[in-house]
């Protein structure tokens, strides 16, 4: 089922008024302003040629949208599916309505109708896109609402069921626009045939899970009863006519047959009045609201998600991203990036510091080692020096001792030789 957005009511303090304040006049203010602004509505009609689409539009709005000067699309032969719009301004009871009727001539008329829904989808999307661009501008002024608010789909009165084309079209469009299926040219079906046909169609619609426009529930009991009645009559079987005929003294719109007149506005003949009341008199605003709050929002979120998520993102992240605007999205990414960079920076910093420390440590160690060895060698040398000194001293001692000894010996020798000389001289020696 198409979701309708719920109004959130937070728990807020209630206050009772002890007298007339006057804001009950707000609705009147709103009324006044809306009349001054005027209203817009875009209605799209889709169906094969000859199902009476143009006639029905004329009947609905009691005007000649397509006349001699502005011929309807059905009078022109089309090779491919076209999407054409006509804009008219109608006034009633002080209320101004700019009505845009979008027709799709050529739909379903070709032999091969594959993709004949594509131009229709393209049109709807392009109107949504226009609105989205206008809404997203920096300078927003006039924002004309050309989005398609309602699509009347005409089903040929075969009496059997939906054609494959019908199913295919509705399936493709039910999530883009409010689809209201209608049985066209219902005056070819008897009431019983009509009932069976309707049941069959609804069954098939449910089978294929097609979401047609649903009437909102109201709190009012009477309205709810009416709505339930309408729901039972879906899809509405309609007859259209541009011709006014006199029946029993009354002038009515109808189709004259030899066997009688099928009156357009006779509830027993067809569901035209139901359609008109529902479409124009009671639910026109709701159709616009659903288009704005549901179909357009779907389009927008799909479009924006495609723009920002750049495809290929894991679904867990995507869910989170949907609740943010694309700008907040970028802010988030920026923040993440900054954090990532900070982390990277600290990591690189750490590695850097560590390496520097290592290197410095190594240098220190080498230096210490060097010092140590130097000390050692110095000590070594000093020891050797000391040894040498010892040796030298020892030697000096020895030398001086020996020299002293030698001197004594010399002395003795000298004295001995002196004595010998003396004795020689004395003649002891001959």
């Amino acid at each position: 089922m198409i979701e309708r957005p719920e109004s959130a009511v937070a728990s807020i303090a209630q206050r009772n008024l002890e007298g007339y304040v006057g804001f009950a006049n707000l609705p009147n203010q709103v009324y006044r302003k809306s009349v001054k602004r005027g209203f817009e509505f875009t209605l799209m009609v889709v169906g094969e040629s000859g199902l009476g689409k143009s006639t029905l539009i004329n009947s609905l709005f009691l005007t000649d949208l397509y006349s001699k000067d502005y011929p309807g699309p059905s009078l022109r032969i089309k090779k491919t599916v076209q999407v054409e719009q006509s804009k008219v301004l109608v006034k009633e009871g002080g209320v101004q309505l700019t009505l845009t009727i979008v027709d799709t001539p050529g739909f379903g008329d070709a032999v091969d109708n594959s993709n004949c829904w594509q131009p229709v989808i393209n049109y709807i999307d392009s109107k949504c896109e226009d609105f989205l661009n206008a809404e997203s501008r920096v300078n927003r002024r006039l924002m004309p609402d050309n989005r398609v608010h309602c699509c009347l789909y005409f089903i040929a009165p075969s009496g059997h069921g939906l054609k494959p084309l019908d199913v295919e079209f509705m399936k493709r469009l039910h999530d883009k626009v409010n689809v209201i299926p209608l049985i066209a040219k219902a005056d070819t079906l008897t009431p019983e045939e009509c009932q069976l046909f309707k049941k069959q169609i609804m069954k098939e619609i449910q089978e294929h899970k097609i979401q047609i426009y649903e009437f909102p529930d109201t709190e009012d009991d009477e309205d709810s009863k009416l709505i339930r009645k309408i729901k039972e009559q879906m899809p509405l079987a309609v007859v259209g006519s541009n011709v006014v005929i006199e029946v029993n003294g009354k002038k009515v719109r109808g189709r004259q047959y030899p066997w009688g007149v099928a009156e357009v506005e006779n509830g027993e003949h067809c569901d035209f009045t139901v359609l008109r009341n529902m479409l124009i008199r009671t639910h026109m605003q709701d159709l616009k609201d659903v288009t704005n709050n549901v179909h357009y929002e779907n389009y927008r979120s799909r479009k924006l998600a495609a723009v920002t998520c750049n495809g290929g993102v894991d679904t867990s992240k995507t869910k989170n991203q949907m609740t943010r605007s694309p700008l907040a999205q970028m802010e988030e990414e920026r923040r993440e990036h900054v954090m990532k960079m900070k982390k990277m920076e600290t990591e690189m910093e750490q590695v850097f510091e560590m390496k520097v420390k290592e290197k410095k440590q190594k240098l220190k160690d080498s230096e210490a080692e060097l010092e140590r060895r130097h000390e050692q060698m110095k000590k070594n040398l000093e020891a050797q020096y000391k040894e040498l000194e010892e040796k030298k001293r020892h030697h000096e001692e020895e030398k001086s001792n020996w020299e002293a000894q030698q001197r004594i010996l010399e002395q003795q020798k000298l004295e001995a030789s002196k004595t010998m000389e003396k004795n020689k001289k004395k003649g002891k020696i001959f």
Binding site: P5, I12, L17, E18, V21, L60, Q285, L304, H337, L388
Partner: protein, 427 residues
């Protein structure tokens, strides 16, 4: 409010066609009204004024109920904004009313920054709405609009002119919110003084270029009453929740020894005019102005600040997709540049540090070489000394050996001489 309700020109490019009967779309306004009533309405009022000017009392009087709040003291350090939301119902119309009060306004010695917190508050509400509007999945339909729709500016009843704080504040607020200036506690001013006061205030506002809210005169139904009321601005009001018996009715009034000021008596004060204009006639217009003028201005400034433009340099309009993609690319480029910069900086530092360490290493090697050389020199000296000592030792040894040899020779010779002598003797 749906965005579609921004000013639209009906019927552009459409041709008018006559209707042959009653179609029924004249019920559209009713459909719209029914939807709005079902959805409920929302209105936010900001009361700005010095402490003690009767703001809370006036709110209570306007809405015929008792709102929260106790009278505040005068010793607040700064201006704070307190907001309270209430649900009111009158016949079938539900109104979510938010009353925001400025607490501590005008109490500080230095009031230069008084207006800042007010402007910030208003901007915060705009920002919240903007964020919601820009979300990918948004729920504007059920969003609780907190933007300020009307600002009641309370002027102290001095009888002379506006205070400079008033002028400064109103000048800062006039492009952000609909300002409705009112003279508070006007039962302190006599009728003649009041007329002069109003004229003075109006002229001061005009000469300072302050744009206060003008009641709209474009809709014929209300144009007349609105333009009359525009001439009575600023409204001189008196608020009271107490009732006094006048004649055989209980009316809201303030009782003085010299008489009773009736709040709802139009010859006593402009309270009824204020209520009429603010609530009964122009509430919807105040909301619309806030959305289409003040909010749009904020949004435009914010988006331009972020670098969004409507047209590219060739004046071709950007589509939404292009805008976002351009922004995104710019943004990505920015991030990459930052990353590059950081990397470069690191590379630089590494280089520098390496050079430093290399220097240190070189020095160490030099030191090592020097010490080595020193050591070698010392060693050499030692070797030399050793050598010389050895030489000396050898020399000495030789000498010693030589001397001993001589001695032994001498002894031998001495012995042989003796032998010779003995031989001679024998002969």
């Amino acid at each position: 409010m749906a965005a579609t309700e921004i000013a639209r020109q009906a019927g552009e490019g459409a041709r008018a066609v006559p209707l042959a009967g009653h179609v029924g779309f004249d019920s559209m306004p009713d459909q719209l009204v029914n939807k709005s009533v079902n959805h409920g309405f929302c209105f936010n009022i900001l009361c700005v004024g010095e402490t003690g000017l009767g703001k809370s009392t006036l709110m209570d009087t306007l809405f015929n109920t008792k709102f929260e709040g106790e009278p505040t003291q005068h010793n607040q350090p700064g201006v704070q904004l307190k907001s309270n939301t209430y649900e009111l119902q009158e016949s079938n119309v539900r109104l979510k009313l938010t009353v925001v009060n400025t607490v501590g306004f005008g109490d500080q010695i230095n009031k230069e920054d008084s207006y800042k917190s007010i402007v910030e508050f208003i901007d915060t509400q705009f920002e919240a709405y903007l964020q919601e509007e820009l979300k990918i999945k948004r729920t504007l339909h059920s969003y609780h609009d907190t933007r300020i729709h009307a600002c009641l500016y309370f002027i102290a009843p001095t009888g002379h002119s506006l205070k400079s704080l008033d002028l400064v504040t109103m000048k800062k607020l006039d492009s952000k919110v609909n300002i409705i200036p009112i003279i508070a506690k006007s039962d302190a001013i006599s009728k003649s003084e009041l007329t002069k006061f109003k004229i003075k205030i109006t002229s001061e506002l005009v000469s300072n270029g302050v744009q206060i809210y003008q009641f709209p005169t474009d809709d014929e139904t209300v144009a007349e009453i609105n333009s009359t009321m525009n001439g009575h601005l600023p409204f001189a009001v008196v608020g009271s929740t107490e009732e006094v018996k006048i004649g055989n009715k209980m009316v809201k009034a303030r009782q003085y020894p010299w008489g009773t000021v009736q709040v709802e008596n139009e010859s006593h004060c402009d309270f009824v005019k204020l209520r009429e204009m603010l609530i009964r006639v122009n509430m919807e217009d105040l909301r619309e102005q806030t959305h289409t003028r003040h909010y749009e201005l904020y949004r435009r400034c914010k988006l331009e600040e972020m670098g969004f433009k409507d047209t590219d340099p060739d004046c071709k309009p950007f589509s939404l997709q292009e805008t976002y993609e351009a922004k995104r690319n710019e943004f990505m480029g920015d991030l990459q540049k930052k990353e590059e910069e950081m990397r470069q900086m690191f590379v630089q530092r590494v280089k520098e540090k390496e050079a430093e360490l290399k220097e240190a290493e070189k020095e160490l090697h030099e030191k090592f070489d020097r010490l080595k050389k020193l050591h070698q020199d010392e060693k050499k000296k030692l070797e030399d000394k050793k050598k010389s000592l050895d030489d000396e030792l050898n020399g000495f040894k030789q000498k010693k050996t030589a001397a001993e040899l001589l001695q032994s020779q001498a002894q031998q010779a001495g012995g042989s001489t003796t032998l010779k002598r003995d031989k001679e003797r024998k002969n």
